[in-house]
Symmetry: C2
Subunit: 348 residues, 2 copies
């Protein structure tokens, strides 16, 4: 498939800068909210027809260059034996968090075929819908640390005290935990590739809670192992994304990936310089900029495009997921503007 | 006063690396929790004798190189007319948040003498207690953006959507808001210096929620104005601290300050290189490291000291405030270890 998103992953010149948006399918879209009146979020994720429908909603509404399968990072933990629910207003809750060596021992490492087949089936459905549009589909998984953080903290956390203390004080158990998660994650990503995903993103949303030294010692090896394992068996591109990682982009790069995702806390050209121009880069508009007037939003989008000057290998995206109440009009205008404005930099 | 903390602020060589800890007075100390059984947090802050007592608790318990006045950044907003309370488990709440031009118009800009005299009086009390110990006292204030964030969001916020949208969409009103806050903050800091503070810290806890471009345009000028105004009238050192600012340390530096505070998300020597060696640096241990075993904590503290190799101008601190349940034993050991271990780098 020739597509400007996939071309950019390999740093090939494109006619215009490709764009997709993290969490592009979801709550900010009225079509999605309508569906959510009837179904719970896990119900949608676990019903391939519904997950397919939601995946296609932003593709039908905007001129995006890639779809991303509608799923969540936490069913992986459910597959491993943790009890998960989403509590309105509070986010995800793990009811039996991992706190001891015995808890780690009891975690299962089932294959994705066996435990996450709903997402694999959703990928097959979306692929057949996308065929006529010549658009690629991105599969994804949470990275080992981000999943471990949810597993240990029992949900979101302000300072990740429990997971970091676990990591520092129980190095052997930590290694077992991270290897177990990494095994499931690598298998899940490969299964998504086999089901038809054209690219894969590893989300390490909480990596930036760590010091660079702790990340390098306790976390990077496992992300690296996942990416190496995946890349050994499939040729599709891998995007490696973290939040709050401005001070350790060299390590995120070392962790692997064809594309490195950066948040908005560093000028994109400075981030790319640190990462190295032999990698593609994805980012990095502040999701809140979509709440600004179109004039302000346009200035911000333009600044990013002007900073990279059409260098081959830039995938326009937000610096983190799109926020729930984002105005749909601004999303449409942003997508079109990125395509129109960046055409002037084409073929560089 | 000759003191190694003050010497380090001016990058003068010291016998050993000075150390103090953000939020060193507070919940992790049993003496403080005992006092809190009888008094609310705002009650302690507003009763100079109690604020003095709490300020001295860590000084009596540990060999710290500076005291910091026990206060909070939010009474400044109360002085400006906002209604503040601390809700257990939820943190601070502003009951009449600033959302419109009229709200901004109504904000008062009283002098610190008139509205924050309790902290000024507490400073005078602490100063007389500290005299015999030859220890300096740090005064502080929230920076204009961090205060504006609380004022607009009505408390803490996950993504700071409201304050950033306000900033982007209402530039004139934003300017008025920031100038009003900056005026009160500068006056408050100067009043603290006059009351006897030996150094001042400007806390910009939320600066790192912004993109570098937005920080530079909408926030930096006001922090800069505060610091310039203070430095024009007093010779005492100013520490400029932000969290999540690894991607824009050059701008924090540009904002001003004799000492730049960095969090743990960047190796300290890399941060210092970006900031420039003509500024002192403060940081940058992960507060969670204090929950690790002493062996792990020691390795982490040593790594920071080895990274800066005793370069004159390093003040050891955490990368953010000490956490509520921090083990007191580890605090004591850390303070002593920093002094002992860094002596080998003395006079460099």
């Amino acid at each position: 498939m020739t597509n400007r998103f996939l071309q950019a992953c390999y740093r090939q010149p494109t006619d215009t800068t490709p764009i997709w948006l993290m969490r592009q399918a979801g709550r900010y879209m009225p079509e999605y909210r309508q569906l959510r009146e009837r179904y719970g979020i896990l119900e949608i994720i676990k019903t391939p027809e519904l997950a397919c429908e939601v995946t296609m909603q932003p593709i039908n509404a905007f001129d995006l260059d890639a779809a991303i399968i509608f799923a969540d990072i936490l069913p992986v933990l459910e597959a491993m034996g943790l009890k998960l629910s989403f509590v309105k207003g509070e986010g995800p809750i793990i009811h039996n968090p991992v706190r001891t060596a015995e808890d780690v021992q009891q975690l299962r490492t089932p294959s994705a075929q066996e435990s996450l087949s709903f997402t694999l089936e959703a990928i097959r459905l979306v692929k057949s819908e996308l065929e006529s549009r010549h658009l690629p589909l991105i599969g994804f998984s949470g990275a080992p640390f981000t999943l471990a953080a949810y597993a240990v903290e029992s949900g979101s956390s302000k300072n990740h005290r429990l997971v970091k203390t676990f990591m520092m004080n129980e190095p052997q158990t930590w290694q077992t935990l991270m290897l177990k998660i990494a095994t499931v994650v690598a298998d899940y990503l490969l299964a998504q590739a086999e089901a038809g995903a054209d690219a894969l993103q590893l989300f390490d949303s909480w990596a930036g809670q760590l010091s660079p030294a702790d990340y390098e010692r306790w976390v990077m090896p496992y992300s690296q192992w996942v990416i190496n394992t995946v890349k050994a068996k499939t040729k599709i591109p891998v995007i490696h994304f973290g939040v709050n990682t401005s001070g350790m982009l060299h390590l995120i790069r070392q962790g692997g990936g064809d594309v490195i995702g950066v948040d908005w806390r560093i000028p994109i050209h400075k981030g790319w310089e640190i990462i190295g121009y032999d990698k593609a880069i994805q980012g990095n508009l502040d999701p809140v900029a979509l709440f600004a007037s179109w004039e302000v939003l346009q200035v911000q989008a333009k600044a990013i495009l002007d900073a990279v000057q059409g260098r081959a290998g830039h995938i326009f995206n937000l610096g983190h997921g799109i926020l729930p109440e984002t105005p749909v009009d601004n999303v449409k205008r942003l997508v079109d503007f990125v395509h129109e404005y960046s055409a002037k930099y084409a073929h560089s």
